[in-house]
Symmetry: C2
Subunit: 339 residues, 2 copies
């Protein structure tokens, strides 16, 4: 046996269930231990109804975004009654160490799981989780939904998101899949920090990958219902679940729009301070409209600074409730996607 | 000069402004340096209009509760136009180290400022802030408003709160002052963790002390307007500010109620997991009604656990969006205050 520090390093990540079994199976994805932490058992659910799409649904990628784990638990409750074909695997908590700490990154190694893909079998605990997911789960699916939120200090309308994908055919398929969530926003998010994302690894293998996002502080019953409806709509569109897809009610409206945002649409703080939003997400703004005010806190004689809309646009996301450093994002604007 | 580690340990905390000056003064509360950190300058505003109440308004006691600093900045903008008498001192950020880290406690020494009063001149940085506030600012005021929120993982309606006070005369005065905020909830909060609170030190000196709370995740424009209206109402009631006090609109209503909550009204998690609220704050519940569900995350075959209302009561606060340990609070209920 190849051992190091008393741990068996030769064990490969694996599942305790056979995904080919018909019906419901529950067990664990086993992430082998390493020098920094012992073996992890990530609870997993699979419902195999034969022919049809192979879907993987994950939550708890970031530890302070808990809508995903809660919606995953709800799926596990109702899928057995409504799934008619295909196979759906649900893994509610990808990173239990981060969830237990209510921390975006894993406290033990400081790594962001969603920048650690495809992972390393001989790496730190976060890298080993990414490796287990990449090698054991990703090959089983042709469609992946990773259920995020936008983190506790951001407001963002419920959104199904993707990043630009080089392959135009996969890009079109992915946008259609995201739109099938029927959330208030479908978003194509172009940013420069995509290395190591779960999305990128899945898309490089030709899979349809949609990341659900939902910002706004505490997890309330209303938010959860919208999030859950979005996932149900997507499963209905895939033909795996019976039912009628419809837009969930958000701010007394039942509608959705497809937007894009680019790096230049990120509004940054001109100085350290506390950002006070002065508009709402989904507001349409003209160039020069007030988005918010940055209040430097070091001196009361320093004037507060207006943050203005750089172009006619739609307010996509607002930072709030946290101190920001100079040059840190305080808002994102967006515009209708042109294909 | 009495020096230690190159720092002048003999300097006492002091203000850079003379509070007896008429009109507006801005400067700093100087917190002397110590072994762990250098001198701090906490920006401060004073508006002296002669006879009348002496009020101290503070924010940023906890670093992840930023409504207080933002409302403080707004006060500084409009007080010069509406204050007619008395003296109002505003200190927007009591603990800049915690605010910059968006952390409840001070990262450097791990201390909760609101459990560190009256502080220590020769203590760690948090204790030195408490000492400076206790010795320099507290003696200048007969009324203190400390502007908190309930933290990022709790939902709580806007509330003006106090704790039970042994002196019945001061208790009655304090409840009347809290009710003058005209927030949706006036709360008498009985709990067992009051040692070292700013409240306790101020009340022991016979001062009226009200703590404003407002939970619910991100800081939005609507929340801030309610919070700001509450402080304005209180200053109008004290006779310092011109205007008409009125209940701010919260959930389409303009009303307030006075509640009390006791240690036995805290509902605790029976196991580690993620708490999903299944009711809303201010809901009236009967004994046995569902408050929320605790989802253990370690196994999918472990049933989720219902958290039920122990008595007929009003839902005061709901934890959400965070993992909780066993025996950690997930909700508070309350009932109308009987005097």
């Amino acid at each position: 046996m190849n051992t190091q520090n008393g741990l068996d390093m030769s064990r490969a990540p694996h599942l305790t269930i056979d995904l080919n079994t018909c019906g419901v199976s529950t067990g664990d994805l086993i992430v082998p231990g390493g020098r920094d932490y012992g073996e992890l058992s990530l609870p997993i659910f699979s419902l195999n109804k034969g022919e049809g799409h192979r879907v993987l649904i994950t939550g708890g990628n970031h530890g302070n975004e808990l809508e995903g784990p809660l919606v995953s638990r709800r799926l596990i409750e109702w899928l057995p009654e409504v799934q008619t074909c295909g196979r759906i695997i649900v893994l509610p908590v990808l990173n239990p160490l981060a969830v237990e700490a209510w921390s975006r990154n894993t406290p033990l190694d400081g790594l962001n799981l969603n920048r650690s893909f495809p992972g390393r079998a001989d790496g730190s605990v976060t890298q080993r989780i990414a490796d287990a997911v990449s090698r054991v789960l990703l090959p089983t699916a042709d469609v992946v939904f990773d259920l995020h939120s936008f983190g506790p200090t951001w407001e963002l309308p419920p959104a199904a998101t993707t990043h630009p994908i080089a392959d135009p055919h996969l890009m079109a398929k992915t946008v259609r899949m995201a739109e099938a969530f029927k959330l208030p926003v479908t978003l194509v998010w172009q940013h420069n920090d995509t290395a190591g994302m779960f999305d990128t690894v899945a898309q490089n293998q030709g899979k349809v990958f949609v990341c659900a996002e939902f910002g706004g502080g505490t997890v309330g019953a209303g938010n959860l219902a919208i999030y859950e409806a979005g996932v149900r709509n997507a499963l209905i569109a895939l033909g795996l679940v019976e039912g009628q897809a419809e837009y969930p009610t958000f701010r007394q409206q039942k509608s959705g729009q497809t937007l894009e945002t680019r790096p230049s649409d990120q509004l940054k703080s001109p100085a350290p301070g506390i950002f006070e939003p002065r508009c709402s997400v989904l507001d349409e703004v003209k160039q020069g409209d007030l988005i918010g005010i940055l209040h430097p806190m070091g001196s009361l004689s320093t004037d507060s600074l207006d943050i203005l809309a750089p172009t006619p646009s739609i307010v996509l996301a607002l930072a709030s409730g946290a101190h920001v450093n100079a040059n840190e994002a305080v808002a994102y604007v967006a515009r209708p996607l042109k294909i």
